[in-house]
Symmetry: D3
């Protein structure tokens, strides 16, 4: 699979250890993360060459973030410096009926104050095969849609395949803003990834017979969602949708659909006992792109992506640290969790 | 809701982190807690003005306990100083078939050696609306029943509503002692709280067709228990009973009954994956009193109290750190644990 | 029950805390352990006098291992010193569909380079009643089968009952090597312990109608396995087999069979929510030997052993820290995990 | 001593434990702090009634900060809510020749976007005796000088004594901006606190014969600095200056001067082995104000303030947790550190 | 050296990690300790057979204490069970000018409610060579002097050498009570250990020209103290006195005197950078007894004891984990702290 | 400065946190390190392109080591896989008079069983400017001298400058073995680095008037050592020697000499309060090579190298995380440790 370029925000994730609430204890676990960076990292662990592009302040905390990317084997040479701050978000892990809580402090960050000319996309895309961004990046500030669009146009020009995860964040923009901006960007996109709510929130396309809060998901409904997405954006060659049924903060049922060339492929479903679900969607995107990039069949692609993201739920923090071998073993049906010696 | 006064013991809770047993590792998590203090803290988080009354030794460890109460917004101005020691208890968290273990070291504490004149109840109850104590406080020493009775009589005089959680502790007194002392105190009580075993142990009133160890609980049985309690103590205006079915140390089914004006109201049941169940009863008491104090309907009261204490089971340590908004969300049916961003 | 002697390896177990993967964080929990040492420790906690025999390098890390044995009340006076290193193994705890991972670094250890004359078996077995070893010990190096055989012959001479846990480790030797060596040693063994795979791997005796990966276990099948084992080794007086159905790395169904005098006895089954499953087999062996050594009936023996090892799964690290009273309480049917105050 | 009001920023302090650098390990110790909040907290521990005024976002992290203030017995009822974020700063503790490092991320915070009308100063100063602010608060944004000036004018009107710690921060504003703004505010100030560099940086008044980097401080020089300050601001009744000689990040010599009514009083000097020097200046300000507010002699005032801040250097994190008794013991000459049983 | 028997209290030591104060953070390091137990443990590490005798409650926390003794190779077979509680003490480590703080909660413990007949001294002393107790043990309750005296008389009868560390604790008894009780017990003692204050506090014998708080110690003065002690108690064959000059809580000068047969021997002095000074006196007692028990010359004895206790100050928690080889290396003059590979 | 290649071992460093001894607590801090890897990492942080070459087993622990190298920006593309194990070493940090203790378990590692043809030196040195190895690498096994010699010859052929740190390890080989092997390898070396003992131990060249244990070092003596080294190995263009005076495990005096073209240059001396001294020599080597590689004057070179390694002593674990700017600041004389905001 050719080199993948990700573009987006990089933040410091902070949160109390285990199941403590924010006010309990005197330390926060810390980690450096971002939706697109997570996709790059997951692909890097699968053996794909990647480059993550962002803008970071020139300080020691940003250097920690870059060091972490390097550790995960993600390319960092195209990261540019400037601006005042790295974003921060706070995660309190939920359990049982208590939901996880995320508080974002990501305004005024280095990337959100960037402009199109900060990035040399021609050099960045030289020799690249894939470009990935999410709906978070254009939502970061008023100037960011233009920055993302410039990246997409440069990618198109370079013959690079573009993937986008809708990733709607209600505290960054309204559904109207999201719909308008993403509607325009999606005309440039080849592969679309979404979760069970995104299409509804961003594009007003919802799955009949499904009720996300009640955990009721309809296979037919999501097939129709995909069909309508392709009708509106005929440029889209494939759509991956994660299907999460939340039993509680501790237990979910997890599966996925991949729609391509008019047909919907569904993965097996997993009863997931959750260690950390942050980054679940990103790990699915990485799995889907790996399947597409390595030429798997549509059914194998969705199975691989579902297995990858199933494993992510058993891993602390945001990045899916699973290898191809580990994912394939689960994909092959061994979810028994027997000790590997 | 008017100011609530709690009276009782405050202890240092110690225990190994996670699921380690007492002898594993070289640190104990520490926390300052007590049954009535937990009720005050939970109500304070719900926005109710509270005062916790106790007697503590004049040392730096007791100051830590007071600091923790202040942090939780519980009033501490009526705490008096004297005596030798703060109590200690050791908690080893169970899992699966292994039960949690609690070792108490609460004899000879500052409060257990207090006398009625240590507390200026007239000043304490000035402007207060509620007084809460549990069956633990009179059990702390031979002198304590008189101290508690003095508090109750002062509360009655001040027109303060009295609530009591039976909270039988077999290592503090015998069922006979408990029955005699509590039987007398209950004649002063307006609202009674108990768990599925207390009424049986303290007052000899047991629920037919129920077997607590086997996890079999009968709705009719507990309605009869409540009826008989009201027959014996006609002064009691409402009875809340928690109904716990222990599948294992990791999983419980949790619900509650509220009996008032001749009718029993049952909450929905929750499948709880336990983070820490210590303080579950206290959080129920706080929820029930909040429902009563803010004028909820009986059904809403029991649903609120059950949802509050359901959430407590997902929170580390003894205090229910849930806000009214969080409890109302679960009460409204969203127990899916989906991430709150 | 008379003194039990265990002989085998002692290693340093290292692994990240909680559910972190190897590369996450900057500390490893550390513990000193070994299959036979775990059996000795579990029996010592049950009140049985034990001695653990091994060879360790003369350094401060080995002294930590010995200190840990002493803490657990295991006799250490027959440990001999020499060689270069103590073995190390790395454990990454799995969860949900992600399996636990164990990496061994146990070659060239002090014990693996020992020779029969390093141990004064005559003195060691003086007054002892039981000798326990596992299939790991002869697998440690080419010279070890002779060392183990010498120990067994000395035990036989001293009238000591010999027990052996097959414990096949595929990264130590091939099934052929194991079959040849163990086939010879088993002729000296009185009690045999195995898990659902060992007999198949080591001796080529498999349970019909069972599929371990799919979690399908057949009672009849395992009875046949036992029967065939006794046919081949008529000296074997009893066979204990653990029966694990792996739902996931977080949840297992656990039970056991004890076959003696032509009859198979099955324990009740437990739905286990796993804290740490390493050492599960060792805790079963200890339970079984305790039942045999204290003269329990075969049914009680298997129930005791199954309850003991069920509890082990709820305990961190390798040793079953459960007391006889705790095991008997579960054996008697109380697996409700209600708080013990 | 009458109630003290502090006004300023409240931030989340983050940093690796011990002497680790930012990129080492995966957790940050966390604490909630601010220059004026530290002064309030230190006075509260000394038994003075205090109120800390700030503006915080309405989220769970800000609630943690407020809880911490409450724990320290600082009044929080005048804190107002609004704005987007709480500031963050990162501290890496130095040792030996390696300096401590602080990275601020305090722009766009709730307080920096506040306006004069956000605070009801009339109510806040009702019954108060003292008002304290530092040079950090007006530096937080372009609008903040007006907010601080409004507070000072309201304090003056209410007859409240005003104290100010110059606290120059070069990454918040230039010396020119600081000089202009602080020059105006100091006309309203009764007591001024500064460290060995502030007067030079902010007001261009430097101590002859002193070289801060080389650790050379001149008593006469600092007396002249004080004299010139009083010449320029005749409203100032007292000036406290801390005198730090940095031997290394681990060892400092610490003392102070108090200048009042034309005379300079010098404290004894302490050889300080540093645990955490952040908040050293704040603890000096609190000590000085306590001396002034409780009517100590000028010599006692400076000795008390120096002893208080000497002890702070032996305490982790920003707040001086020393009691009056502890400070008086050191002030009385017992710095031997003998165990207090 | 023949077997040493220690008799005294065993407590749980609790305290925040590093230099945190009691109210900071949410965990306490925990350890099981006692003055005489520390002496036994130190001797056990030096290779001496020891037995520690105490009375403990029959619970899991006491079992942890016993396990820790076993880990340190201290004999525990003569520990008896009964009573309600194990004592607790809280330690906050000081630094620089801030003293360490110890809060005791050791009343009503199992040992303090023991009676002479709880211990079978005849069996305990069978084959023993040494008996050690401290001035803490008779101070634990009104009944304890009789218990200690019974032990001493039994020791004398068995021909066992008795050593006593004066160890005055002002929160356990007054100097008058101590003087009266210890004066009587010392008539049975062969070797006496004291620190620079004990003889003054307990027996009213003080060193001229010495001022402990100011850190001024006079060699002649302490020689006179020893002389007067021997005059009063001619049965005493040797007296060891530790000589601590407290520069600060971080730095001490440490040395010792051993007085025997009319001559005072002084050790070299050590500039100690303190890690944990709790247990320093106990480690000196152990070192002195080792020197005496193994027949060292008086000068070697005091050098060994001083070197042993010097090393203890560099070790966390109460027990001197130094081996004979490590102590001899320092005694031989190598205090350079160069890495041992 | 041109690319630097390092070749040597990579190990897992384990040790208890803070000043705990090996047997205290239940976790070990873990880190991946090696003498040459540390030099590469330090240079990478200074902005030099580096490649570390080693042989590692193909397992997850080795992957952690590689990830750590990547995080530090060290090139890892020439690492080869094979063999059984990664080495382990255990570090117990000393304090005051207690020395640090290191236990090695580095036999039979992947690299020690490598052969010359495992490494493609031609490709490795393509475009490189420097090659660094230490005396540890040829000492790892009997086969390693040939492997190192092959590397050196290939370096020579490629016109790469060779540096060597003598780094004598007495538990790997005898002084005779070391002298013979190193004597041969040094004929290929351009720059030699040694500490105050190495030349004596390996080559029998000692500094008159110096006594390392007593901390007495003679400038003239070390100049003579350098002169004699150059006489014996005229190919050597420069010699760096670190000069450590060990006051205690907590405090050292640290300086260095650089000898080139017949002249000895001495750095200033630093009074170092030690955080972690492991890796001190490696950080000196990196500093020296940086000075040489960037064309500093000999005096600046030795000052830079001494300042770099002085800072290392204040940093936890093995790698000098100091930047060029930080080192230059200390080199310029600012060792006051004042906070950098």
């Amino acid at each position: 699979m050719k080199r993948m370029v990700g573009f987006g925000d990089m933040m410091l994730r902070l949160g109390p250890p285990g199941y403590l609430r924010f006010g309990q204890g005197n330390c926060f676990m810390c980690y450096y993360t971002g939706a697109e960076a997570n996709v790059c990292a997951s692909l890097a662990i699968m053996g794909v060459e990647t480059d993550f592009v962002t803008r970071l302040p020139d300080n020691a905390i940003a250097q920690c973030a870059i060091g972490e990317l390097r550790r995960l084997n993600v390319g960092t040479r195209h990261i540019v410096f400037g601006g005042d701050r790295i974003g921060v978000f706070y995660v309190e892990k939920g359990a049982s009926q208590r939901p996880s809580k995320v508080i974002y402090d990501r305004k005024h960050t280095a990337i959100s104050t960037s402009s199109p000319e900060d990035f040399n996309w021609k050099a960045i895309f030289d020799g690249a095969g894939y470009f990935h961004f999410t709906g978070i990046t254009p939502a970061l500030s008023e100037g960011m849609p233009a920055v993302v669009e410039a990246a997409c146009r440069a990618a198109k020009e370079a013959g690079v395949v573009i993937s986008c995860d809708l990733n709607y964040r209600k505290n960054l923009w309204t559904t109207e803003q999201a719909g308008k901006t993403m509607g325009k960007l999606l005309e440039l996109v080849d592969y679309l990834i979404a979760n069970e709510e995104d299409a509804d929130k961003v594009l007003g396309i919802h799955a009949p017979d499904s009720d996300v809060i009640a955990g009721k998901l309809s296979r037919d409904g999501y097939t129709q969602v995909a069909r309508r997405l392709v009708e509106r954006f005929p440029n889209i060659r494939g759509i991956g949708i994660t299907l999460r049924q939340s039993i509680s903060a501790s237990d979910n049922i997890w599966g996925a659909m991949y729609f391509t060339e008019g047909t919907a492929y569904f993965s097996r479903e997993y009863n997931v006992h959750i260690v950390d679900r942050v980054g679940g969607g990103d790990s699915f995107a990485a799995g889907l792109l790996y399947g597409i990039g390595t030429g798997m069949s549509p059914q194998d692609t969705v199975e691989y992506a579902a297995a990858a993201s199933c494993l992510k739920h058993s891993i602390e923090l945001d990045v899916n640290l699973s290898t191809v071998a580990e994912i394939r073993q689960l994909m092959a049906g061994d979810g028994s969790g027997r000790v590997q010696r």
